[in-house]
């Protein structure tokens, strides 16, 4: 900048200035618009992108709503292209009164069963070992990526809001089937590596394990029974019919496994 600017440099300066202003406007507007009810494209796949986006309309004056909808879509698009999606919550809305782990039950052709617990689940809840910071987080994220949709499902919620719980559970486990099948295949492979000659399971059940936290004011002792909830079931040795998804989802209220159809709907 000490030398007189050339025309090319002046254009670069204009470009940099406009980029800087756009970036700053994007950061603020994108976060603010999350709070403004917008009409999204209605696609089911929006959920993992915009968990905090208020949906609907904020005004009956169509031009205002339309401008906000278009602005929201443009900001979302920029956020996706640059990997800067603005959805910040940092521990909000909060943690339920339990810890949640997952476990895989495998049934073999001879009828024998094994349960593979998460490597992150402490063997003694009252004296958990300290884990190294940072280095395991991505491995942890991979394993726990299927739990957020069922994390808040306390026993009370499952009783009092059964239809909502069912809808959330079925919606999510329809969406995540390819990823969850991959995770279950990995679990089977890891078990086979540790137990050579055992063969592969014929049935796999993926469970949530809710470990109640001592409530505020109670003695800090983890002695309440673990609540085990079947989530999905898979038959790895059976070919999946063309019109079905490979993972069946457990209907907690009806106490039965439900087959999801590829085109939508259940059987």
């Amino acid at each position: 900048m000490n030398a007189p600017p050339t025309p090319a440099r002046r254009w670069i300066a204009v470009g940099v200035g406009l980029f800087a202003l756009w970036q700053m406007a994007f950061l603020v507007a994108s976060n603010v618009l999350n709070l403004v009810p917008l009409r999204t494209n209605g696609a089911e796949d929006d959920m993992p992108y915009k968990p905090f986006q208020e949906e609907g309309t904020f005004t009956s004056f169509e031009p205002f709503q339309r401008v906000a909808d278009v602005a929201g879509a443009a900001l979302d698009a920029y956020g996706e292209v640059t990997g800067q999606e603005q959805q910040w919550s940092l521990f909000a809305p909060g943690f339920p009164p339990h810890s949640l782990f997952t476990a895989v039950d495998m049934t073999f052709a001879d009828g024998s069963k094994v349960q593979v617990l998460s490597g992150f689940e402490p063997t003694d809840y009252n004296s958990p070992l300290i884990r190294a910071p940072f280095v395991n987080t991505r491995r942890y994220n991979v394993e726990m990526q299927f739990t957020p949709p069922v994390l808040q499902h306390t026993a009370d919620a499952m009783r009092e809001a059964a239809p909502v719980v069912r809808a959330q559970t079925f919606f999510y486990f329809r969406q995540c089937q390819p990823v969850l099948v991959t995770w279950l295949r990995w679990q089977i492979a890891q078990y086979a590596k540790a137990h050579p000659g055992r063969g592969g399971p014929v049935e796999v059940v993926y469970n949530a394990r809710y470990i109640p936290t001592p409530l505020p004011g109670e003695p800090k002792v983890w002695d309440k029974p673990v609540r085990v909830r079947p989530l999905v079931r898979w038959f790895p040795t059976k070919a999946t019919p063309a019109d079905e998804l490979p993972l069946q989802v457990y209907d907690e209220a009806a106490k039965r496994w439900v087959t999801l159809l590829e085109a939508g709907g259940e059987r």
């Binding site: 940099v16 640059t82 940092l90 940072f134 991979v142």
Partner: protein, 314 residues
């Protein structure tokens, strides 16, 4: 030798009054942006070497999450997520792109062409981020923003192989300040809106949120230690967090509260790094605070001289 500062980087053009707004246009000491580059590069290398590479086959192997089908979730109609890995062969694409990512991180560390190496690192980061979203947390979005800032921020003007200052030249080096302000804005909205979502949550209003976080066996890396302390201490921590987050955009700007606010931020992230599985989020967030440290004053004979006290990071 004159003490007239060296100006590096492109001074941006802003329209109208914005062009005269000091907060936007004042340059910052090059050391601030260089420190950001080094901090981000060190964190990125640590991230790649300790949390990506040991599980690379699971995360990106073609038989596992690197296969085309599992990664399809973010590449759906109506969205613009992209990944170079989608155009590279599954057999060797992830390895090659990881190699490029490592090389660009190393280039950032030594300050070699930080615009190019920053953009390469950003492209790799977004590619891996989108290809296997199950690995990520908010820290990865922050990482993407940091890499863009490092690329755009003229971060190689000092402390690197592309430095503009000749050996023995002691003049201060200044770079455009808007990337530092942009990063401050990113932190400000990150904390403020997190605070807002907490504020409307009953769990944070009662103050029990931190109690349950501290007693979480899955997400906590040291629940045996974090459960120590009475319930009211967890409640105070919850409410304190709320006040700090909601107040950050103002408190970090006011001279009287800036140091304490920023110090609390680093403390908060360090605490979560060692007690929760937040991993990259904590370290990338701490990296961002590098722009707030007055590195340019250290080692100077007269730290009070005007040349050694240009506009600060925020």
């Amino acid at each position: 030798m004159t003490s007239e500062p060296i100006h590096a980087g492109v001074r941006p053009w802003f329209p109208g009054r914005l062009g005269r707004w000091g907060w936007l246009t004042d340059p910052v000491p090059a050391e601030r942006m260089a420190a950001l580059r080094v901090a981000v590069a060190v964190t990125l290398l640590l991230d790649l070497c300790t949390s990506y590479l040991p599980y690379f086959n699971l995360f990106f192997g073609p038989e596992w999450f690197g296969g085309r089908e599992p990664s399809g979730g973010r590449f759906v109609a109506g969205h613009l997520s992209w990944s170079l890995l989608r155009w590279l062969p599954v057999g060797w694409g992830p390895e090659v792109l990881m190699g490029a990512w490592l090389a660009s991180a190393a280039a950032l560390l030594v300050g070699w062409r930080p615009l190019v190496s920053g953009l390469v690192a950003w492209a790799c980061a977004v590619s891996f981020y989108n290809y296997n979203p199950g690995l990520n947390n908010g820290g990865d979005r922050l990482r993407n923003a940091l890499l863009l800032t490092v690329a755009a921020g003229c971060t190689g003007a000092v402390w690197g192989v592309s430095a503009v200052r000749a050996k023995g030249d002691t003049r201060p080096v200044l770079v455009p300040g808007w990337p530092a302000r942009m990063l401050f804005l990113q932190l400000a909205v990150l904390y403020f809106f997190s605070g807002y979502y907490k504020f409307i949550s009953p769990s944070w209003q009662t103050g029990y949120a931190m109690y349950y976080v501290a007693h979480e066996l899955a997400w906590g890396t040291a629940p045996g230690l974090t459960t120590v302390g009475p319930v009211w201490a967890h409640q105070l921590l919850s409410w304190g967090t709320l006040v700090w987050e909601l107040g950050f955009p103002v408190l970090a700007l006011l001279p009287g509260t800036r140091a304490v606010t920023l110090g609390l931020g680093v403390f908060f992230h360090a605490l979560t790094l060692f007690t929760l599985e937040v991993g990259p989020f904590a370290l990338y967030a701490i990296s961002a605070y590098a722009i707030f440290v007055p590195w340019e004053r250290w080692g100077r004979a007269d730290p009070a001289s005007p040349a050694a006290r240009p506009a600060d990071g925020v």
